[in-house]
Symmetry: C2
Subunit: 259 residues, 2 copies
Amino acid sequence: MVKELTIVKIGGNVINDPDQLISFLRDFSDLEGMKILVHGGGKKATEIADAMGLSPKLTGGRRITDAANLDVVTMVYAGLLNKNIVADLHSFDCNALGLSGADANVIRAHKRIVKEIDYGFAGDIDEVDAKMITTFLNAGLSPVFSAITHDKKGQLLNTNADTIAAELAKAMSGEFKVDLIYCFERAGVLKDVEKDDSIIEEIDRETYAGLVENGIIADGMLPKMKNCYEALEQGVDKVRIGKPELIRDKEIRHTTLKL
Amino acid sequence: MVKELTIVKIGGNVINDPDQLISFLRDFSDLEGMKILVHGGGKKATEIADAMGLSPKLTGGRRITDAANLDVVTMVYAGLLNKNIVADLHSFDCNALGLSGADANVIRAHKRIVKEIDYGFAGDIDEVDAKMITTFLNAGLSPVFSAITHDKKGQLLNTNADTIAAELAKAMSGEFKVDLIYCFERAGVLKDVEKDDSIIEEIDRETYAGLVENGIIADGMLPKMKNCYEALEQGVDKVRIGKPELIRDKEIRHTTLKL
C-alpha cells in the first residue's frame, strides 16, 4: 500500500493572527498520518526590519533580499516563527521538527540568476532530499519548514514558501501519495475577489487557461497556480486551495485543482 | 564495542570572530565519528536588541529574559547563528542538523523557579531525548544545538549553552563513550588569568576544591566547572577545556578534568 502524506502550506496572514495560528496548529496536530507543514513569513520580518531601521526593498511586490534583509528573514522565519510554531505544535502533542533547507541539506538551492532584476539572496530550488525527509517521517516526526534554503556553499537563501511546498510535494510523491493543501486568507480561487462565496470549486487545465485569460487568476495567484500545476504534473495526487479551516473540515468549500 | 561521541561547545567569543568561527567549523567538520556541536550566542543578540531599541537586562552578569528579549535570543540563537553555522558546516561536507530543544522535543525544560531573582524566560533542563538524538546520529547527521529549549507547553526558554552541553553529554553517555570539550577564549583553567601559559593541565576533585578556595576558579568558571563535574559523575568519559584549536590538535595544552 502506498503511504499517504499531507503537506500543508500556511501563508503570512494566518501567522499574523495569533488566535488563528493557534487554532490552525491545533487542527494540524489533529491531522492523522504523516504530515509536513510549510510556513510563510508574515509581516513580522517587516516589523523587525523596521525596528532595526532597515528599509525593506520591494520590486513588483517581491522582496529584494540584500545581506541585511537576509539576516532579518533568517532570524524571523527560521528562528522566531519556526521555533514558536514548533513549540506550539508540541503543546498539542505533534512531534514537530523545525527545518530550514540548510538543515540536513534537505533543500539545496542556488542564488537566483540576475536577468532584468537582481533579487539578491533569493533562492531557486535545485534539489530536495526526499530520502532524509522520509527518515524524519519514519521517526514519527512532522517536519516544519521555514522559507530559508542554502546553496551548500555556506550561503543561506530566502525562498518562496509556496514554491518550497510544491517542490517538497513533487519530491515526496516518488514514495508517497501526496495531498498538497495551500491555506490562505481566501476560501479558494474566487470569481470575484470581493465575494468569498464566489469560489470556483474545480479548476482543470482548460478552465485554468480561461481564468488566466479573463484576468480572474492574476498577480500573486499566478505563481501560486503555476506551482500547483507543476506539482500535479509531477505526480502529486491532490492539490487544494482554501482557508485554514479546510484541514479540519474537508466539506468546507474550497478549490480543487485537476490536470 | 561502545560507540564514541564527541560533544563540542563553542562560546560566544568564537562566534563573534568570523575568521575564527569558520576555521573552527572546518576543524569540527574534520572530526571523525559521531559528533554534536553546541553553540552560545555571542554579542549578536545584544547588537540586535540594541538595534531594536531594547535594553538588555542583566543581573550579576546573567541576562534576565523578558518576553521581548526571548524573541531576540530565539531569532538570533536558533535562527541567524544556528542556520549560518549549519550552512557553513555543509560547505565543509558536514551533514549538520540545526536544533533547538523544541525541535523533536529533544530538550524539555521548565521556566526557572523564582527565588531571589526572577530570571524571566530562562529554562532549567528536565529531560534530554537521547533516543531521538541517536536516531539523528545514526542517520549520519551532526546535531547543532542553539541555546533555546521549551517546556512542551508552547513556551520557548533561553537556556545556558554550557549546561545544554553537559546535559547532552550525560544523557548520551548511556549509549556512547562521550568526549566533552568546552572551547573558549582561554587555553584552559589558568592559575593566572593574565597568563595564557599558566594552564592547569589536570584537575581532580581534590585540586578543584583547592582552586575554588583560593579563588582561582571563580565567577563564570564556577558554573562551567560545576557542569563539568556533574557530567563526569554521571558517566561522561572525558571532559576537557581549552581553545577552539584543541579539537584539531589534541597535543595543544589544555585542562583535563578528572573525578
